[in-house]
Every structure is written in C-alpha cells, then in structure tokens.
C-alpha cells in the first residue's frame, strides 16, 4: 500500500468534508430563521412553555404572537412523570408555564415547583364551575383547568354481545370468546387497578398498598385476555383487531369517526376525570408574560378554537352549545350524553402508594405474557 507523502492539506479537505454536511445546513437554517440559534436574553419578550405535543392550536399561537409580539417557545414531554423529573432537576430551569395533569399537581406543589396563582390577575368566570375547586387542587391555588377528558371504554357492541354499563361488565366482557385476546388496558397502574377498587367500594386515593395489591390480583388474572397496554391507535379499534378498550374519549372519538358501529361509555360506579392544567413554574423568568398568555388563552373564542384543534373540551362553560353544529360525534367530546360529574374522581399521586401501583402494574403486564 503506497502512501503519498506529498498529499498535504488532507486535514483541510477532511474538515471541509466533515463540515460539508452540516455547515450549509446550519448556515441555511440560520439565514432562514434569524435568531433561531441566538441565545435569547431572559425576561425580554419571551415565554417558555413545557407541554404535551400538539396541544396548542397553531392559529391561536399565531394570533397571540401578532397581538403581543411574543411567540411562545413550546417544548414537549411525553408523560407527567417526565415533567416532574425535569422540573425537579436543573433541566427544568427556564420554563414559565407547564401543563401538568390533575394527578401530579399536588406533588409538584409539595416539592415547591409551582408558583401560587394570583387570581386577581385572571378572570376565571368563563370557566365551567364543575371543573374548578376540585380535590386535586382545592381553590385552584396552583392550577387553572385547560381541558379535560375521561377514562372510559370504547367497544364493538356486536362482538361484545351487549351493552357495557359498569366496570364489572367490562371485565366479564373481556373474558368472552371472541373478545378475549382483543382487549386493551391502560399502562398506568391506577387506571387499571382503579376500576376494581371502585367495584370493591374503595377510593383509589385512599387505598392502602395491601388493598391495591389485593385488587391487583383480579387484574393479573384478567391479564391473559389483554392484547395491548400501549397507547391505543384508533385504527386498531376501528378495524377490529381490538374490540374492547379502556381509553380516553379523544381516542374513542377518533375510532368511532372511522367506524360508527363502535360505542363509548363511561362505566360506573366511578370513573376517572383528568384535567390538564395551566400551571406557573416557581421562579418563572417571564412571569408577566405568563399571565398575559394565560389571560389570552382563557378567552372564550380561544378556548373554542383549542377544543376543535386538540379534540378535548376546554374548560369553558357552555362549550357544547358554542361548537359548530356540524361537529362530528360532538357528544363524545364531552364524554357522552348525560355525564354525571359526581361519578367522576381524579387521581392524586401519593408517594406512599405510587410505588405499589407501579409494581402491581408491572406484574399485570408481565402476567399478560410476552
């Protein structure tokens, strides 16, 4: 193998090649978006929001940017747990607004991660009173409802052979031939064990670890009928590879949109109401901007637009009447006809029991076999 000693400049050639892929890309991008890579000074026309993906209508964001001159910088997470872990670490510094679910508000507040909300700066009169002052945050000290959803069941009545009205019906249906092996359960411990606790007359927020484990036994026996615990794809319910699914109303609505024969129900005796909330992070660098954004988001027209974009109902009172008449399956957006808010309970994460829920869920998923 010969080596040409006269080949100078190989370094510059190599570095040019190495940079070739990225430098033009970076240069082109910075030219196209001036300021995209500049470190922006905090507190001067900025707003950092940490949220679920795709959770703000692009139309609303643009309108807000025009009105206030500030474009909210939205970063995303995939679970409440990630949100908690982030805020509880240096990675959480710099966020102004976060969108935690009702289950985690208390933990975030207890750890001192949230600012108390100054109610004099915001007008909550337009919101549905049923959604305010709930167990998970009495007096709405730390949170303002953004939108809400329910835990329920979407199913194919033909395959299941009847209607489902309680969680007992759900479990019984899952064992039937033709349904067994085509069931979907949640991957969150309290959502799977909760139903059994409710059937036993217990409260999922006050159950002891032993009670949780005992209730889990039924789920472990049921697990062999379960096909999936992963995020539900509406296509799977629509095309029949899953005929009985525990899921939220948004996914159910998408499935029914694809296959109108499916039905949605919020089973008794209880089920879950979860509320996704605006919350302000402690020591938020852009506090005033945060309140300005929240005031904007709370306007009725904005909430209406959000509902249509994300498919879950915003907390606005009287929202149903305000939606366009041709909105498909509008009832399901609100959890079905005649939803009784008194039969709904929100979960609050409790450090004493969350480990047990997790452990039992892991055992349930293991019992489902692989």
């Amino acid at each position: 193998m010969t080596v040409d000693f006269r080949r100078r400049g190989i370094l510059s050639r190599r570095s040019v090649l190495g940079l070739l892929g990225a430098a033009p890309a970076t240069a082109a991008l910075s030219a196209a978006f001036p300021g995209a890579f500049r470190a922006e000074a905090a507190g001067s026309g900025q707003l950092n929001v940490y949220s679920w993906p795709d959770y703000f209508s692009t139309g609303n964001l643009e309108a807000y940017a025009k009105k206030s001159g500030v474009t909210p910088n939205i970063t995303t997470y995939d679970s409440n747990e990630t949100l908690f872990a982030k805020l509880n670490s240096p990675a959480g510094a710099g966020f102004d607004i976060v969108i935690p679910s009702s289950s985690w508000i208390k933990q975030l507040a207890d750890k001192g991660l949230l600012e108390e909300i100054d109610h004099s700066k915001l007008n909550l009169a337009s919101l549905d009173q049923d959604l305010l002052n709930r167990d998970y945050d009495p007096g709405n000290k730390y949170s303002i409802p953004k939108d809400w959803g329910l835990l329920g069941v979407v199913y194919d009545p033909e395959a299941v052979g009847g209607e489902i009205e309680t969680w007992e019906d759900f479990f019984k249906a899952g064992e039937k031939p033709g349904v067994s092996g085509k069931v979907r359960l949640s991957d969150t411990g309290w959502e799977t064990i909760g139903p059994e606790l409710w059937l036993q007359g217990k409260d999922w927020n006050t159950a002891t670890p032993d009670e949780i484990k005992a209730a889990g036994e039924r789920l472990k026996a049921f697990a062999k009928h379960v096909k999936s615990f992963s995020g539900l794809d509406p296509n799977q319910v629509a095309n029949g590879s899953i005929v009985l699914a525990q899921t939220n109303n948004g996914t159910a609505r998408a499935a029914i949109g694809l296959n109108p024969k499916l039905k949605w129900v919020v089973p008794g005796p209880f089920s879950e109401l979860w509320v996704d909330n605006y919350a302000i992070v402690k020591n938020a660098p852009n506090l005033d901007q945060a309140y300005d954004f929240l005031a904007y988001q709370l306007q009725p027209e904005v909430q209406l637009e959000e509902t249509q974009y994300i498919g879950f109902p915003a907390a606005l009172a009287g929202l149903k009447e305000k939606l366009p008449a041709d909105t498909k399956n509008v009832d399901i957006i609100f959890g079905g006809k005649d939803l009784d808010f008194k039969k709904l309970t929100s979960f609050v994460v409790n450090p004493e029991t969350v480990g047990t829920y997790l452990q039992v869920q892991a055992e349930i998923q293991a019992a489902a076999g692989g």
């Binding site: 679970s79 747990e81 990630t82 908690f84 872990a85 509880n88 933990q107 750890k111 979907r184 991957d187 379960v226 096909k227 999936s228 615990f229 992963s230 794809d233 296509n235 799977q236 095309n239 029949g240 590879s241 450090p351 969350v354 480990g355 997790l358 452990q359 892991a362 055992e363 998923q365 293991a366 489902a368 076999g369 692989g370």
Partner: protein, 300 residues
C-alpha cells in the same frame, strides 16, 4: 494486499523492533479521551453507584449506606424479569445475525464498486428517523394495512392479519432496527478473509458448503462476536420497540429501570438495578471475549 503470512500488524502491540518508549505525544493522545469520558461518563456513573446505596425520598436521594435496594433488585420479580430480558435479547440477536450474515457475505463477495452500492442500499434507510420507521412498521403490520393486502394477494395468508401486538411483531421490529448494525462488523471481517485461502480450500477438493463451514465461518468468528456485542447488549435496554409493536406485554429490564426513575421517582432502586445489569453484562461480555479470543481480530 499484504501477503498471506503477514495479515495485518503483528498481534502484540508492545515494544516492536522499532523500540518505542511512551512519549509525551502518546500520553496526550490517550489522555484526551480519558479526560473527556472521566468527566462526562465515569463521574456521573459514579454518582449512580453512590445513589444505589442511598434511600429514596421520592425524587431525591438521602445519602447513606443500605443494601435494601440491591435486595429488592435481586428479588423474585426483578430477577425473573432480568432472565426473561436476557433470553429475549439473545434470541433477537441470534435472529438478527442469521438474517445479517448472508447479506454481509453477499456484499463482501463483490468488487469495490458494486460493493459500495450494495452497502449503501443497506445503509440509506438508516438515515431517517428511527421512531418514524417503527411507527411506519406499525402501520404496515396493522390490520387492513399494506402487509395484509400484499400477503393476501400473494396467497401467503388469508384474511385479516393479526401480528401486531405479538411477540412476532416485536422480533420483526428488533431485526429491522438492528440489521444494519449486525451487518457491518460481519462484513468487515468477511472482507478481510484472504481470497487465496478460499481458493486453496476449493482446490483441495472441498465443496462450497464445506469451505464455508470449515474455513469462512470459523474465520468470521470475531466478527460474529462483535455483531453479538453490538446487538444483544443494546437490546437488553430496549424499551421503544416492545412498547410500540408489542403492546407492552411482558416487562423487560429497560422499561423496569426507566420506570423506577421516572414513575416511582425511586432513584436509589433504579440505580441499584442499573448497577446489577451492568455487572451482569460485563460478565457476559468478558465470557464472550474469552470464547472467541477477542473481538474483530483476524487470527493469522
């Protein structure tokens, strides 16, 4: 191409006939990566080990010394989970290698230009987002999706396709994700097997099959070992594919450790589990290295 007797450098890298003692430049070159990794890898890992002996305060750690976390991590459920994960990774890795070997062999047999094209075709899909490809795989394998249509048309399958959310789908996904990673080391080693050896074997009367079995395969052993290392070990921590394609049934180590950190906020337990997994994997890797006499070395 060097002659057959001197394949590559002499195996021992020690003081050669040139008689070189370590010089400043050598130490500098070795120091740069060591320093970088000491700061950004070893120190954080050290923290993890320290935390594994602490007590959990739901999102925090109270430093101390307790073996409780290790006791829990070694307990029935997690012990079984670990064994199950090892079996899973070993099978997925074996499947991946079985699929990869013929491809690597095919590429290695061609001459330079065709070979570049052949290798490129294998590597191009790798440059797109992994998650999107897995999501697309999910779409393709679902009922009413493209796979069902094609398989029905070819009369290889009748009726709706129900492989999604099964172990089969997970294995398909694993092979899909790790195939290029397995092909590369296999190709590198197969490529370095000198043609004259193969020809000599054929001239002595061995059939193609026998030549493959007794010459090629043994010589490619280091490549196989490297391929196993680069596939089976990451597979032990795989979380995404079993969740997206397998319906999250069964629990694997990757998920178990991550959920200790993220959901239970139990850093000490998660750390203890991680340390145990590390130790176990280190043992397995050392055993593998022993068995195949090092990775990626062509035995002269």
């Amino acid at each position: 191409m060097p002659a057959v007797e001197t394949i590559g450098p002499r195996p021992s890298g020690g003081l050669s006939a040139g008689g070189v003692a370590p010089r400043a430049a050598d130490h500098f070159i070795a120091a740069v990566p060591t320093l970088w990794l000491a700061i950004f890898f070893l120190t954080p890992l050290g923290f993890t080990v320290v935390f594994s002996f602490g007590r959990s305060t739901f999102g925090g750690v109270e430093l101390g010394f307790t073996l409780d976390n290790y006791a829990t991590a070694l307990s029935g459920f997690y012990g079984v989970t670990f064994v199950r994960t090892v079996i899973f990774a070993a099978s997925a890795s074996a499947l991946c290698l079985a699929a990869a070997y013929p491809v690597a062999y095919f590429i290695a047999r061609h001459t330079a230009r065709r070979r570049t094209l052949a290798a490129l075709l294998i590597l191009i899909p790798y440059f797109s987002s992994f998650l999107i490809r897995v999501m697309a795989l999910h779409m393709l394998m679902s009922r009413g999706g493209a796979s069902e249509i094609v398989l029905n048309a070819l009369h290889l399958h009748a009726g709706p396709l129900d492989i999604l959310d099964t172990q089969t789908a997970v294995f398909i996904g694993m092979v899909y994700a790790y195939l290029p990673i397995a092909i590369v080391p296999l190709f590198v080693v197969l490529d370095r097997i000198p043609r004259p050896l193969i020809e000599a074997s054929r001239d002595l009367g061995a059939s193609r099959f026998k030549t493959f079995l007794f010459v090629t395969l043994p010589l490619s052993r280091p490549g196989i070992a490297t391929a196993v290392l680069l596939t089976a070990v990451p597979m032990l921590g795989e979380m995404v594919i079993p969740k997206l394609l397998g319906g999250s049934r069964g629990v694997l180590m990757g998920q178990a450790i991550a959920s200790q950190y993220l959901q239970s906020q139990n850093y000490p337990l998660g750390s203890a589990m991680a340390v145990l997994v590390l130790l176990a994997v280190a043992v397995i890797v050392l055993a593998l290295a022993r068995l195949t006499k090092g990775f990626d070395e062509v035995v002269a």
